[in-house]
């Protein structure tokens, strides 16, 4: 079975041959960069390098899906936020000065899809589709409304506003949702089979579950509905308390890191819900060896995963043999 078929079968609620393995978040490592000759920072900025490095997840690791981009700044940059570039080793991030104050009314630029590096990202997905699109699933990555709003407002002001003046956040969520959805649709047009939404700041580590439910779920639901491919939502940290609300977004799959309890999520979602997860990217995949990766992956799978994945973006210094071992583990889970 081709990797793409394997992945799409899970999303169609059919049985694949073996458990799929890919990463919902960023996939690059320095070793992959060396192997395919595409490096940071160029791969954050230029379509050809981005596509080449993204496809390394298939050609070098054997993942069942490839994914671009590798950072969380595309929408925010196009909206006008300042980007701090990460050089050869790091991913870009959002820097000061902050774009907006809470009393501002943000706007979505008419030429949003032509701004910043978005055209490069769209082109990268096109290249990936052309080169490996028949073989593997293509994942387009976008950022969740609350996290984009957080980039526009900065963390502390938006966190305080969730309690003090939640109404003032809505215009930002509105723009965040529209920005992500526009980008998501463009990535689908370019060939993405799946959309992965990273929404780091919506984690209960940062905001109250009630705030997630009242502020974010409706925008995520709208986004999921507007995108006509399966949408995966990934939220970092321990999300046990918001799994029921994440389910309310009607997303196709929920992606969690091992700070959350797979068993709790499985119980809430029932047998039908698609759950993606795996070992910790820092403490296990980056710091340990294949043996620990194997044991940890099996432990997470046994708790009820449908797709094995690194818990979050792969740390760029992660040894390739650890990632290969993870794929090997997934291959051993056969469905008949």
């Amino acid at each position: 079975m081709k990797p793409k078929e394997r992945v799409m079968k899970v999303f169609n609620r059919e049985k694949p041959d073996v458990m799929p393995c890919f990463c919902v978040n960023g996939t690059p490592t320095y070793q992959q960069m060396e192997k395919v000759g595409a490096y940071w920072p160029e791969a954050h900025e230029r379509a050809e390098d981005m596509a080449k490095l993204a496809m390394a997840a298939y050609t070098e690791l054997g993942f069942d899906a490839v994914r671009a981009p590798f950072c969380q700044t595309f929408e925010a940059e196009a909206l006008g936020c300042t980007v701090k570039w990460g050089g050869k080793e790091n991913i870009p991030g959002i820097d000061h000065p902050v774009l907006h104050k809470l009393d501002d009314i943000p706007k979505l630029p008419d030429d949003f899809l032509e701004r910043g590096r978005i055209p490069q990202l769209i082109e990268a997905i096109r290249i990936m589709k052309r080169e490996v699109g028949d073989e593997v699933a293509i994942i387009g990555g976008i950022i969740g409304p609350f996290t984009i709003a957080g980039a526009m407002l900065d963390a502390v002001p938006i966190l305080k506003a969730t309690i003090k003046s939640p109404d003032k956040i809505h215009p930002f969520l509105e723009i965040g949702e529209q920005a992500g959805t526009l980008l998501g649709k463009a990535l689908i047009d370019a060939g993405a089979d799946l959309i992965a939404v990273e929404d780091m700041q919506a984690s209960p580590d940062l905001i109250a579950p009630k705030s997630y439910q009242k502020l974010e779920v409706e925008y995520q639901r709208r986004q999921v509905e507007a995108l006509d491919v399966p949408v995966i939502i990934h939220i970092c940290g321990n999300v046990d308390k918001i799994i029921p609300f994440m389910e309310d977004t009607c997303c196709a799959a929920i992606s969690i890191e091992p700070k959350s309890d797979v068993r709790v999520a499985r119980k809430i979602l029932g047998p039908e819900g698609i759950l993606i997860g795996g070992v910790d990217t820092a403490t296990t995949l980056f710091m340990k060896g294949p043996e620990e990766v194997r044991a940890g992956s099996i432990e997470q799978i046994e708790m009820g995963l449908d797709i094995l994945a690194p818990g979050c973006a792969i740390a760029p210094g992660t040894p390739i043999e650890n990632l290969l071992e993870m794929v090997k583990v997934a291959r051993e889970y056969k469905y008949d």
Binding site: E89, K164, P244, I268
Partner: protein, 249 residues
């Protein structure tokens, strides 16, 4: 025929609504006026705190307002946080309200109140993901420590310099990315060279116990919640070795 006029609860999933059982804050003072001050802190009311503190200072001493109103209120916030009833935004709001109140009391006293001790906090060089540090700052503040907040993306030398100038009881470093945590052992080495034996607590998304306990002075912070307890230990005179064996391993 009876019609249902309120349909809002029909689809409420009571079993999953984790905050239904939310309990209210407890009373922290027998004195009604000081309880009122505490309530403004507990409610994180930064807009109202100034007026209520000024009003209370007409009948109470600044130290009474600080200790039995502002700090007592914040202690209750810490309890609500520990029990998972309050989340980070509430702690930040309450901590800001408390600090605004303390500033007004200090103005009236004509001097600064004695803080427990200083803690220097920073996010590693190259890392602008300072959310972990935001949590640490809020919790340390809430527990009466003076936070010397160096912010995000702080060069090694700047951290070392701040430790030299402020002589803190503890220094913390957070890093989200595996690529930036390499600054921590460099900081530890320099501190050691300068004979500044300050417990250096490191934590954050990418940071593992194995990594932090691999260099002298390093203590691994698993959760931001541990920061106040660790700072108390450091304040009590625990050296990094004792703290490491208590909190790590």
């Amino acid at each position: 025929m009876n019609y249902l006029t309120d349909t809002s609860n029909i689809f409420t999933r009571y079993d999953l609504n984790i905050e239904v059982a939310q309990q209210g804050a407890r009373k922290v003072s027998g004195d009604e006026i000081l309880q009122n001050v505490a309530d403004f802190v507990i409610n994180g009311d930064e807009d109202g705190i100034a007026d209520v503190v000024k009003e209370t200072l007409e009948t109470k001493t600044p130290m009474e307002v600080i200790n039995d109103g502002l700090i007592s209120g914040m202690n209750e916030v810490s309890r609500l946080w520990d029990e998972g009833i309050y989340f980070l935004p509430q702690v930040i709001l309450s901590s800001d309200a408390m600090n605004m109140g303390i500033a007004i009391c200090e103005e009236k006293m004509g001097r600064s109140m004695d803080k427990k001790g200083k803690v220097v906090t920073h996010t590693a060089e190259g890392d602008i993901h300072d959310i972990g540090q935001v949590i640490v700052n809020a919790l340390l503040n809430a527990n009466g420590f003076e936070v010397v907040n160096l912010g995000a993306d702080v060069p090694v030398d700047k951290v070392v310099e701040a430790c030299r100038t402020h002589n803190p009881v503890m220094v913390t470093g957070t890093a989200l990315m595996t690529t930036t945590m390499t600054a921590f052992p460099k900081i530890a080495t320099q501190l050691k060279r300068l004979n500044l034996n300050i417990p250096f607590v490191c934590g954050g998304g990418a940071v593992s116990e194995e990594y932090v306990t691999g260099f002298d002075m390093g203590i691994w912070g698993k959760e931001a919640n541990q920061a106040p307890g660790m700072a108390e230990d450091a304040l009590g005179g625990d050296e990094w070795q004792a703290m490491r064996s208590k909190w790590n391993g």
